[in-house]
């Protein structure tokens, strides 16, 4: 397993119309399959949105959601550990700005591993190399999946 493989996490992305009940439908479907949602975010545009979620069983989630009609895609993301105290996000954000990694989007959550910043980057291999070389900690994908 390469360095990149070890840190690349399979996020599921779900196309969703902006109408009531769509998020509930997604959550209900995942509950039925006993799939745990570890983190999620919603990106909204005019009239539609993309729900992004880290789940413990991404393949099963993909099959379930596609089966009930959702438009679902896998997306590679990486997870950077943040210091769980004031300034934790600032440290990481400053570091990423300095190394000029092209970030498509990011979202954060706090779990039992502490604060975590999820990043969608253009070039995962380069991002893994740069972030680890700067001494930051990346969470391995097996922590989630």
């Amino acid at each position: 397993m390469t360095e990149t493989d070890r840190y690349v996490i399979k996020q599921i992305s779900i196309f969703s119309e902006n109408r009531p009940g769509r998020l509930a439908a997604i959550a209900k479907a995942l509950t039925e399959e006993n799939i745990n949602i570890l983190a999620f975010s919603i990106a909204e545009a005019d009239g539609f949105g993309v729900v992004r979620a880290l789940v413990d069983k991404p393949k099963k989630a993909y099959e379930k959601l596609t089966g009930i009609g959702f438009n679902v895609a896998f997306t590679d993301v990486i997870a950077v550990k943040m210091r769980d105290s004031p300034g934790g996000l600032y440290e990481i954000a400053k570091m990423l700005a300095n190394v000029q990694i092209n970030i498509e989007y990011s979202y954060a959550y706090t779990g039992k591993e502490g604060g975590v910043l999820i990043l969608r980057v253009d070039d995962a291999e380069q991002a893994v190399r740069l972030i680890t070389s700067l001494g930051a900690t990346l969470l391995e994908s097996r922590v989630f999946q």
Binding site: Q11, S13, F15, S16, E17, A43, A45, G47, F48, V50, R52, T66, G69, F70, N71, V72, A73, T75, E104, R120
Partner: protein, 433 residues
């Protein structure tokens, strides 16, 4: 044989128009005197037969509609008595009540002559075996083609519709060279033949199809021609005109409408304004010689355009293009006519979205606002909002170019739009509220 009736088919345009004027004048006098229905209608419009002084004066005459036949069921609108009729046909209306049409001996002769000219113009004649797979009976398709083909000396095989395997066997055994049916039935036949291990292209002598009685597209035509290895000619008509009446010539650039039998106009369906060659609008037909059931400025409800130039085949009579839609489906957005079929066509060029769509029309202030919902296909779904926005922009751009009106596009989940439920669900017009 190139022409069935060369004197008429190649008649100089000027002479043809003179003939049309003479026939129109006679028709209007006859109806004013003998048709209580049309007499009243002319009175209501304030038109007298003397007002018809030139061919263009036809525009002064009131229209006729399908509902006029329904309202006068079964034969109250007929001008001939029953003893002068030699046949009836009945069409089952899609909106309930059927309509009845009647024919005098001359009416049948004109109908058959019209088809004889058309069939010869696309190369059918003596030596051909024409399989008529239109329904025989109350429907006009079967008997119409039957007598037209017999008249030009082709051998008719009157299979009517159904029992497709038997039709394919007969096609092989009797060496059918031409078939008359709906384009969708011919495609079905091709599939059934393949299942039987028969290739229509290689194992039969079929070389042409005379296809109509339902809307079909260029794509369908290309598929029929390429797959089955035949030429596909469009044929047009409705029972009110007599039946299948006008057929494409060997040029395949629209069906010739015989000017001595019918006068055509293309109108803006909303304003009634007359449109020129090449402009899309509603086809309005006046039958110049019908006796039992004359039709004047009949609004069939079909959308098409026409070409008035002399055809490369030598015929001087105008050509009408394949029907592209129905007036009932038309929407008017900011004064521009929009047809759902145009949207369907534009979406075919955008693989990122499916071909299903829904139109929502609303009024924002004084302006019409048109929203088109399309489904993002599974293959092209990206996690990136920017990609999705680009797809939407692209669809908006394509629709604007096709429709000449600004459109907002909404991306929806695949499978969420209603399917095959007709206009009711495909168009939501909130403007009347």
């Amino acid at each position: 044989m190139m022409f069935w009736d060369p004197r008429v088919e190649e008649m100089p345009k000027e002479e043809l128009q003179k003939l049309q004027y003479k026939l129109l004048k006679t028709l209007v006098y006859r109806l004013y005197s003998f048709s209580p229905f049309y007499h009243d209608r002319m009175k209501q419009s304030g038109v007298h037969p003397d007002d018809i002084q030139m061919l263009g004066d036809i525009r002064k005459l009131p229209f006729m509609y399908k509902r006029d036949l329904r309202d006068n069921y079964p034969d109250k609108i007929f001008v001939a008595g029953q003893d002068d009729l030699v046949r009836y046909h009945v069409s089952s209306g899609t909106t309930g009540k059927p309509t009845v049409v009647g024919y005098t001996r001359n009416d049948l002769d004109h109908w058959t002559a019209s088809l004889a000219r058309g069939l010869v113009s696309c190369g059918l004649g003596r030596g051909d075996v024409l399989q008529v797979s239109y329904g025989y009976g109350l429907f006009t398709g079967g008997l119409g083609l039957h007598y037209g083909a017999e008249r030009v000396g082709a051998t008719v095989l009157p299979t009517s519709v159904g029992n497709t395997e038997r039709q394919i066997e007969l096609m092989q055994d009797l060496h059918t060279t031409a078939i008359a049916c709906t384009p969708s039935y011919l495609l079905h036949m091709g599939e059934v033949a393949e299942k039987m291990g028969v290739s229509i292209r290689d194992d039969t002598e079929l070389r042409m199809g005379i296809l109509g009685a339902e809307p079909w597209s260029d794509t369908m035509k290309a598929r029929i021609e390429d797959w089955l290895g035949i030429k596909a000619y469009d044929i047009y008509g409705t029972s009110e005109l007599s039946g299948p009446m006008f057929c494409e010539c060997s040029e395949q650039k629209g069906f010739h409408v015989w000017g001595d039998l019918a006068y055509i106009e293309i109108l803006d369906p909303e304003t009634g304004e007359s449109l020129g060659p090449g402009e899309k609008g509603e086809l309005v037909v006046t039958m110049l010689q019908k006796e039992a059931l004359p039709m004047i400025r009949y609004r069939i409800g079909d959308i098409t355009s026409y070409d008035d130039g002399v055809c490369a085949c030598g015929r001087t009579h105008p050509r009408v293009m394949r029907i592209s839609g129905r007036v009932d489906d038309m929407l008017i957005i900011r004064g521009i006519n929009v047809f759902p079929s145009q949207i369907e066509y534009a979406l075919m060029a955008v693989p990122e979205v499916g071909q299903h769509f829904q139109i929502v029309v609303d009024r924002k202030g004084a302006l019409d606002d048109m929203l088109v919902r399309v489904e993002v296909s599974r293959e092209s779904f990206s996690d990136k909002i920017t990609d999705l926005m680009a797809i939407r922009k692209n669809v908006e751009h394509k629709l604007r170019n096709t429709l000449n009106v600004a459109v907002n596009v909404e991306l929806v989940e695949p499978g969420s739009l209603p399917r095959f439920e007709g206009k009711a669900k495909r168009v939501i017009d909130r403007r009347q509220l």
